[in-house]
């Protein structure tokens, strides 16, 4: 159970919400005032989606194990690789989810990856 009373809990919510908003607003708020982005920054920002999405998604799919084989033979890694292939050929979000979940469920409930854990 929490040791926080009602007032402290609301203060906590505000203390998290305000800085979080300032982080979100930082560049969106600033840009209108200072004008455009410098050329070098624009070139660097072009890599934001690839870098951030990779940093976001890959740790949810891959967890490091002692050996390369054990790292690769996880249900989510297999499902993720197949889903990435589907994403590449179809560029369709729903198809990627459907195939990825189907592979995960097939391994988990149907055909477990034999011999490696």
């Amino acid at each position: 159970m929490t040791t926080y009373d009602a007032l402290t809990t609301w203060a906590l919510i505000a203390a998290i919400a305000v800085p979080t908003f300032l982080v979100r607003f930082s560049f969106i708020g600033l840009l209108g005032r200072v004008g455009g982005v410098p050329d070098w920054a624009e070139r660097a920002l072009a890599f934001v989606p690839a870098a951030v999405l990779a940093a976001l998604v890959v740790p949810d799919v891959v967890t490091l194990h002692a050996t390369v084989a054990a790292t690769l033979a996880q249900e989510k890694v297999v499902a993720g690789v197949v889903a990435a292939g589907v994403a590449y050929y179809t560029e369709n979000v729903l198809a990627t989810i459907a195939v990825g979940m189907a592979v995960l469920w097939t391994i988990r409930f149907g055909l477990p990856l034999a011999g490696v854990a």
């Binding site: 908003f21 982080v23 951030v52 940093a55 979940m101 995960l104």
Partner: protein
């Protein structure tokens, strides 16, 4: 045009909902476990609106951590949003300050990724499309939290429905790999994020993303 953009954004958010509903249910249950009332749980999710940050805060509250430790952790988990803010800012440049404040308030991983992918691909009203995506996510997130607080999460964890979230991000990631510099950026970012998955404050994600951006920038420079 505006209405079409809004509807199109809300529709593009649908695949994400499959993943954020179980995530929201779990967060709602964690909220009740941490001793928050329904109003407090919804206050946290409505104003902070960031799942990983909320879960981190709630687990620390439940453990009885100090006020400042909870705040520092929950805010640090959200620092990556500064990178999203910089990346998406050019599309919002022309809007009035109070509109930009609203758009910034709703900025989360899912809304950023879906919107930016669409902006690069087709011509759409950026503001209303984004409000469609982020608004749908916001509303469903609150409903999932409330359900989690009130009735608990009964989706069996073994179904792994939360895996739908990385699958959506994967579908958005793949088309962003447009060449060698982008591939290098993604590989470096992913490697550091996996290696640093256990680092405090979600630092693996932030360091990985920044290192990836730098790598892409440098590799693109070599190749010019």
């Amino acid at each position: 045009m505006e209405r079409d953009a809004f509807v199109s954004g809300a529709r593009d958010a649908v695949p994400m909902l499959l993943g954020i509903v179980p995530f929201g249910l779990v967060t709602g249950v964690a909220s009740a476990d941490a001793g928050l009332t329904l109003a407090q749980s919804l206050g946290l999710s409505a104003f902070v609106f960031a799942g990983a940050s909320q879960l981190a805060a709630l687990s620390l509250v439940e453990q009885g951590s100090a006020f400042l430790a909870v705040v520092a952790t929950a805010v640090a988990v959200n620092l990556r949003m500064g990178v999203y803010s910089a990346s998406i800012a050019p599309y919002f440049e022309e809007y009035a300050a109070r509109w930009r404040a609203l758009l910034a308030f709703l900025l989360i991983d899912e809304a950023y990724a879906i919107s930016l992918a669409t902006y690069r691909e087709r011509d759409v009203d950026p503001r209303w499309y984004y409000v469609g995506v982020a608004g749908a996510l916001w509303v469903v997130w609150q409903l999932a939290i409330a359900t989690g607080v009130l009735v608990g999460a009964d989706v069996p964890p073994s179904w792994g429905l939360d895996f739908a979230v990385p699958l959506v991000f994967l579908a958005l990631l793949v088309p962003t790999i447009e060449g060698v510099p982008h591939a290098a950026a993604a590989v470096v970012a992913a490697a550091i994020a996996v290696y640093g998955a256990g680092w405090p404050f979600n630092a693996g994600l932030l360091v990985g993303a920044l290192a990836g951006i730098l790598t892409g920038f440098v590799v693109a420079g070599w190749r010019r």
